[in-house]
Symmetry: C2
Subunit: 365 residues, 2 copies
C-alpha cells in the first residue's frame, strides 16, 4: 500500500483484545465491545472469539453490516427514531438477538408502536445521562421513564446503560478511578430504585476504555462496552490506560518536503488524521495531532487537508530526515482516524500482510 495508510499490528491487537476480555472475566462482567473503533467485521469476530458476549454499535447501518457478516448479538446504543430505520430495525430484530437503545418516551413509543403493528417484541435498554449531557434520559427522570417503558407490551426492557467516559461531575478528568467508580455507583443505585418498583433490570451496562477497569469493579455492574482498547491510541496513553507498547495502530506517512531545517511536510493532514481530539485540550494537553514514533523533538503541529506540518526541533535537526522517508505516527484518536480510511494494512506476527477494507467506514445511518 502507498502512503498515507494505517498499519495494524495483529499481535498487539490480539493482546489488547485478550487483556480486556480477561479484565472483564476477572471482574465478573460481560464485555460487549463497541465496534465503532475498527468498523471491521473480521475484528469484531476476533473480539467475540476472545470472549465478548456480543457487540455494540452506534448506528443501525453498522448493525446491519455486522449481522451480514455473521454477528448475532448486537446492541445499538443509540435511539432510532426515523420510521424507515425503525422498519429496518424490526427486520433485523427478527433475524438476530438485537437490543435497541431508547432514551425518551418519544423514542420508546415510536419503537413500541412499530413493534406492536408487526406483532414483535423488541428488547430495549434505557440510556441514562450520568453527566455527559448527550443522549440519555436525565438521571432524575429515569425511574419514572423505566416504569413507563416496562409497561409497554411490545418492548422488553432488558436494562439500563450509560456512557460517560473520562468525566467526573460533568468535567473531563484524568482521575479515572473516581470517575469510573462514580459512574458505576450512579448506575447501580438507579437500577436498585427501578427494581424497587418491581421492574427487573438484568443488565447495567457502562463503559469506555478509560474507565472500564474501575467501573467493572463496582458491585452490580453487569457489562462494559469499551471500544478504543482494541488499538489504543495517544489519548488513551495520556489517560494512563495503555503504554506505547500497546499501540496496535499507526499511520504510515511519507515525508514529501523539507523546506527548511525546522520543517518537514508529510502526506497526511486532516483527511488522514482525525481532528476531533485537538491539541492542548483539557485535561489531555496532547501536543499536536499525533506522536511521531522513534523521533524525539519532532512535533506534529499543524494540518491542512492533505498536508501535515512537522516542526523539527533542535534535538532532531541532526537527523537525516528527507523527502521520501517513511514515518509512523500514532494519532490522537484512532476511532475517528480509522473512519477516514477505506482500507488498512494488517501485519501479522509471521510477517504476512493483509489489506482489509474498513467495511463500516462512513456508515452514518
Amino acid at each position: 500500500m502507498e502512503t498515507p495508510h494505517i498499519v495494524i499490528d495483529a499481535g498487539i491487537m490480539a493482546n489488547n483484545i485478550n487483556k480486556m476480555a480477561q479484565a472483564a472475566m476477572d471482574a465478573g462482567v460481560k464485555l460487549r465491545p463497541h465496534v465503532k473503533t475498527h468498523k471491521m467485521p473480521s475484528i469484531a469476530l476476533k473480539q467475540l472469539q476472545a470472549g465478548a458476549s456480543g457487540i455494540t454499535v452506534a448506528k443501525l447501518s453498522e448493525a446491519e453490516l455486522m449481522a451480514k457478516h455473521g454477528i448475532t448479538d448486537i446492541f445499538i446504543a443509540y435511539p432510532i427514531v426515523s420510521p424507515g430505520k425503525i422498519d429496518r430495525l424490526l427486520r433485523l430484530s427478527s433475524q438476530i438477538k438485537l437490543i435497541a437503545g431508547v432514551d425518551s418516551m418519544e423514542s420508546a413509543t415510536l419503537l413500541a408502536e412499530a413493534a406492536s403493528q408487526s406483532a414483535q417484541v423488541i428488547s430495549v435498554r434505557l440510556e441514562i445521562d450520568t453527566g455527559m449531557r448527550r443522549t440519555g434520559v436525565l438521571y432524575g427522570e429515569a425511574v419514572e421513564l423505566a416504569e413507563r417503558i416496562a409497561a409497554m407490551p411490545s418492548l422488553r426492557l432488558d436494562g439500563i446503560y450509560t456512557y460517560r467516559g473520562a468525566l467526573f461531575n460533568g468535567k473531563p478528568t484524568l482521575d479515572l478511578k473516581t470517575a469510573g467508580e462514580d459512574e458505576g455507583r450512579l448506575m447501580v443505585d438507579l437500577a436498585s430504585r427501578i427494581r424497587q418498583r418491581g421492574i427487573p433490570i438484568e443488565e447495567i451496562s457502562v463503559g469506555s476504555t478509560p474507565t472500564a477497569r474501575y467501573v467493572a469493579g463496582v458491585t452490580g455492574i453487569t457489562e462494559i462496552r469499551p471500544g478504543t482498547y482494541v488499538f489504543q491510541d495517544r489519548m488513551q496513553a495520556r489517560y494512563g490506560v495503555c503504554s506505547p507498547e500497546d499501540w496496535a495502530a499507526c499511520v504510515r506517512v511519507t515525508v514529501i518536503s523539507r523546506p527548511s531545517a525546522d520543517l518537514a511536510i508529510i502526506d497526511g493532514g486532516s483527511k488522514t488524521f482525525a481532528t476531533d481530539i485537538q491539541p492542548m485540550v483539557n485535561p489531555l494537553q496532547l501536543e499536536g495531532f499525533g506522536k511521531v514514533l522513534g523521533w524525539e523533538d519532532i512535533h506534529f503541529e499543524r494540518v491542512s487537508e492533505e498536508h501535515g506540518m512537522l516542526r523539527i526541533g533542535p534535538a532532531a535537526q541532526t537527523g537525516s530526515l528527507r523527502a521520501g522517508d517513511i514515518l509512523h505516527i500514532v494519532p490522537n484518536h484512532i476511532c475517528s482516524t480509522i473512519n477516514l480510511h477505506n482500507e488498512v494494512l494488517i501485519r501479522y506476527e509471521n510477517g504476512a500482510e493483509q489489506v482489509v477494507s474498513v467495511l463500516a467506514r462512513g456508515l452514518l445511518e
Copy 2:
C-alpha cells in the same frame, strides 16, 4: 436517503460554478478548480463545461480517478516522491495532459530521473511558499531552484504556483483584498526575476476561494485554483466571499433526543461534520460546528463521534423541536465534511433527486 446525509442544491451549485467562471474570464485568467472539495467526477465535468481550463487535485489517486472519468487536463498540486507513485504518474502523464507539482531539488530530481529512464518529458510547476509554511520552496530560494529545474532535460517547467489562502504575513486574516493582492504581487515579482534568467514562466497560478477575486486582478497572474466556491460553506460566508444564499451544500440530520429544554441531540457528530475548522479559532471566530438553518438561538456546541449536541437558547425554546424532526446544518468546512460521506443527495431545480457517490472520498495516495 436516511439521515445524516449531505444535500446539494444543484441550482445554487451551478450558480456558484458560473459566477467563478465569469470572474476568471473578467479578470482574464484561467480557472483550474481544485476538486478536493467535491471529489466527484460529475461535478468536475460541470466545472469544465462552464469554462474551467482543467482541474487541480491534491493526490495522484484523485488524478487517476478523474482521468478515468474523462478529464484530460489535470494539475497535481502536490510533490510526488514515492517510486511507486512516480511510476503511476509517468503512466498517467502519457495518457493525458498532466502537470506535476515539485517544490525541491529532491522532488524534481526524483521525477526527472524516472522520466528520463522512460524517455518521457514531464510538465512540472514549481511550488512557492509565500508564507504558509507548508510545501513550497522558500521564497528566497525559488529563483535558483527554478533555474536548476529548467536545466533538467526530462522536465518542462511550465510555471510557478502557490497556495496561501486567507493569510497575510503568515497570519490568518479577514482582510482578503490585502492578502490576495500581496500574494499576487509576490508571485508576479518572482516570475519576473526567474524570467530575467532566461527561463520562460508561462503560468503563474495562485488560488483559494477567499482570495480568488483579489489575486486574479493582479496583472501577470494567469490562473486561479479555488475549490470551496463550488458549494461555499460557513467559513467562506464568514470571510465575506459568499452569503447564505450561496450555500449549495448542507447536512440533513434528525433530532434523536430532547433530554431537556436547553438540549437537542442530532444524529451526526465528528464522523459526519468535519472538525478541522474548530469553533472560535482566529480570525473566523465561528460559533460551534455549523449553522442550523432556519433557527436562531440554536448552537451546535459539541460533537462526539456520532452525536451532535445543540444548545437551545431561550429564543428557540418555544419551538416545538422534538425527536424525529429534521434539521439542515451548514458545516464550517464543506471540503473535509464531504470527505466523510460515501454518497450525497443532489436536488435539482425540477424537484428530481439523485444519489451520487463521492468517488474520490478517502483517496489518500
